[in-house]
Symmetry: C2
């Protein structure tokens, strides 16, 4: 047999037990926090019809990154040999928002109004693999569909901020803006929709390029659009939302100030900033947008926005909706670098070596008795050399080892060793479970 490669595909990852355990714990913690706010879990298909993923007419950045699934059987033959139709019919979801819009449109009548929902799961993007960027990664979304006021914004952003504080990561910053203000600026400058979209792409680079370079790029785009005398005045200042913005759209300006005040009140330790140059990539945002940043990390730790028109592509009426997402992979990275996160809570508490095959039955029964009391008990499957068995327990850091040798079995007793202080005691089999409950603090 020829040797098969042992690595996953480029851009995909495996996780060793410690890391997998830390990830699972973080997911559990996020899920509990989201549920403490009343958000409900749902389940969605991880593959979608390509027509769903490309529903907005094609062309958005994420649509270009879809992993497409080859047709099967007769349909594939027709596509390949006769050139009838596309080669692919399905695709892996690239985010959780578009599938949620499909889901909500499907079940609208059966769901509570408003619908407060959360999802934690993998998404896939055929991005060029690079440091910290993966082709399969997790997103943790909260959304409220069917609510139009800033209460939805406050609830979702609050839940996300709680995740960061529960993870022991102070110093998070919230940047807030509103797409309606950006549109109003475009209108004031007389820009066409297409030119203004290009301008926003430039503006979005403000955290990577010097402000002067961005200003220059925008002015060039506007000039090519026929607005050679456009004046960007104070609008590129990311520090503060000046009164010039207020004049552009009083309603949005007022909403932003109110939301900012609410979040400051609810999260006194978090820096909440109205940042008029925040753009965010998704083209379906229609109102409030936000981003979570952290001084220890470039780029964002999460973000989201209002998408009041996304559901229309599934034939529904305009439905107000707001949602946000935690950048799970970046959060894991930050926790790892800070030495947080990798706990030992799920490690076995007691190890029972197998001294002799004849004792397999009694050893398995003792382990079962411990588990019935909620104690995690690990048993060695083979009657291997005891040295190897003890090494296994040591390597896994199991705090207690209970040795049932043939002598102990004869005298109905068992030897309990503590790894922490290297003490040893002999306990009668009758009292074994009781004693282990004391030692394991049950």
């Amino acid at each position: 047999m020829s040797k098969v490669p042992v690595s996953p595909p480029s851009g995909f990852r495996d996780f060793l037990p410690e890391e997998a355990s830390a990830r699972a714990k973080l997911i559990d913690s996020i899920s509990r926090i989201y549920q403490s706010h009343g958000f409900q879990p749902i389940g969605m298909s991880m593959l979608e019809n390509l027509s769903t993923l490309q529903g907005k007419g094609g062309g958005s950045d994420n649509e270009k990154l879809i992993f497409k699934v080859l047709k099967r059987g007769e349909e594939l033959v027709r596509a390949v040999e006769k050139g009838e139709g596309e080669l692919a019919d399905l695709g892996l979801r690239f985010d959780l928002t578009l599938p949620l819009a499909r889901y909500y449109s499907r079940f609208r009548e059966q769901l509570p109004k408003p619908f407060k929902v959360f999802q934690i799961g993998p998404v896939w993007r055929a991005d060029r693999p690079q440091k910290g960027r993966f082709r399969e990664f997790f997103q943790c979304d909260v959304d409220i569909i069917g609510a139009k006021e800033i209460g939805a914004e406050a609830d979702c952003i609050s839940a996300i901020l709680e995740v960061f504080s529960a993870a022991g990561l102070p110093g998070a910053e919230v940047h807030l803006n509103d797409r309606r203000l950006l549109s109003a600026l475009g209108a004031k400058l007389g820009a066409s929709a297409a030119a203004w979209a290009k301008c926003l792409v430039s503006l979005d680079k403000l955290d990577k390029l010097p402000a002067e370079k961005v200003r220059e790029e925008m002015l060039q785009i506007l000039a090519a659009d026929g607005q050679s005398s456009a004046d960007l005045g104070p609008f590129l200042d990311s520090g503060e939302m000046s009164d010039e913005w207020k004049v552009l759209d009083e309603q949005s300006y007022g909403d932003l100030q109110a939301l900012s005040a609410l979040l400051k009140q609810l999260h006194p330790g978090v820096a909440v900033k109205v940042n008029p140059t925040l753009v965010r990539g998704q083209d379906y945002y229609t109102g409030t947008i936000f981003e979570i940043r952290h001084p220890d990390l470039s780029g964002s730790l999460g973000g989201g926005g209002r998408y009041n028109r996304l559901l229309e592509i599934f034939g529904g009426a305009e439905t107000p909706a707001f949602g946000g997402s935690i950048g799970f992979e970046r959060l894991c990275l930050l926790l790892q670098e800070g030495g947080h996160g990798v706990g030992s809570a799920e490690r076995p508490e007691v190890f029972l070596p197998l001294f002799d095959v004849s004792l397999r039955g009694p050893v398995l029964s003792l382990a079962a008795a411990l588990r019935a009391e909620g104690i995690r008990a690990d048993v060695y499957p083979d009657a291997a050399k005891l040295k190897n068995q003890f090494k296994y327990a040591d390597d896994r850091g199991i705090p207690f080892t209970a040795v049932l040798g043939t002598d102990e079995w004869q005298s109905r007793s068992i030897k309990v060793k503590s790894m922490a202080d290297r003490t040893e005691e002999t306990v009668s089999l009758e009292n074994f479970v009781k004693r282990m409950k004391e030692l394991c603090k049950r």
Copy 2:
């Protein structure tokens, strides 16, 4: 904009909140039971290189069902226009065992010996969609790699049986067999490897076809293979393992009896049967095989076996390994039909309607104070009609509603209503959290 379909692809599913919540709880329970045995979680890529998935040379049933992922960019152009290479390079995993073998081969040196591992996650098969059969479904695997004795079998099967008893599903049956016994029978009958493989496919239909029909099919295959006088004698009797089997392979026979005795001792309520006609589909099994059945369900609820040679395809030495899997979707179905499983533990406990926008700040702060004490508190995002807000709380079955109206806010108090007994009390804001902790039993 044209309307996009709201259904997932054929054979794929969405889950409403109640069902999604029940599934999440079941996964959590399985994960805790597996960990109580000392199994460790890992994380694996969900997509694999096609060469990995097809590593065994192609042709197994599951390999035919791979969802293949289209190449991208230049490589796709070359494959389509110049016919250079295949159209697809990646595939969605069809089980968790083959990727685990890859994973273990990659990290062998860093992992404990033996390696006790569990995985819960989705797999995909391009099967024809039919009732109870899905193209995306969850598997819950436990495996021990690097142990050769039946202790591995006893540990894995025990953990799986605990899942069924914890789910409140008595009546599970374990069927045990050993592939070495089946091979010994083929050798005794003088069958070629190819003919015997066909015979096993026939034998595997014993639960669907009458025994006489199966016997006839097998005799025909053997006759075509040149063994026209083959005698299947007592070997098709699924009821009991007769002494004729013992003569075929004493070692395997002895192992089976010992494993059966261990499982009976550990799980007195479970029917453990040595079933010499059990075959199981996977072609990588080399020794013990098992299947969990339930009288309320045709087919199996789970199963697995020993695969001592699978790791060789990744270039490693022969490595003993045993593993089993729970049929998660069938278990969910059984729990649903029995009315088990759908709990309300994660439902919000307190609902706070929004009487007036001016009260948004205080209401959000009160909800945050409840959550800080571990109480799940849901807030309505809009200042909508109170009737609609109360309907939302009713529909979601939230047991307490705490109304902060403008009068209450003036008098620093709040009205707490119990949905169960329709009582109402007014509590000072100062005592609110304390009172809710009493009511919610904290």
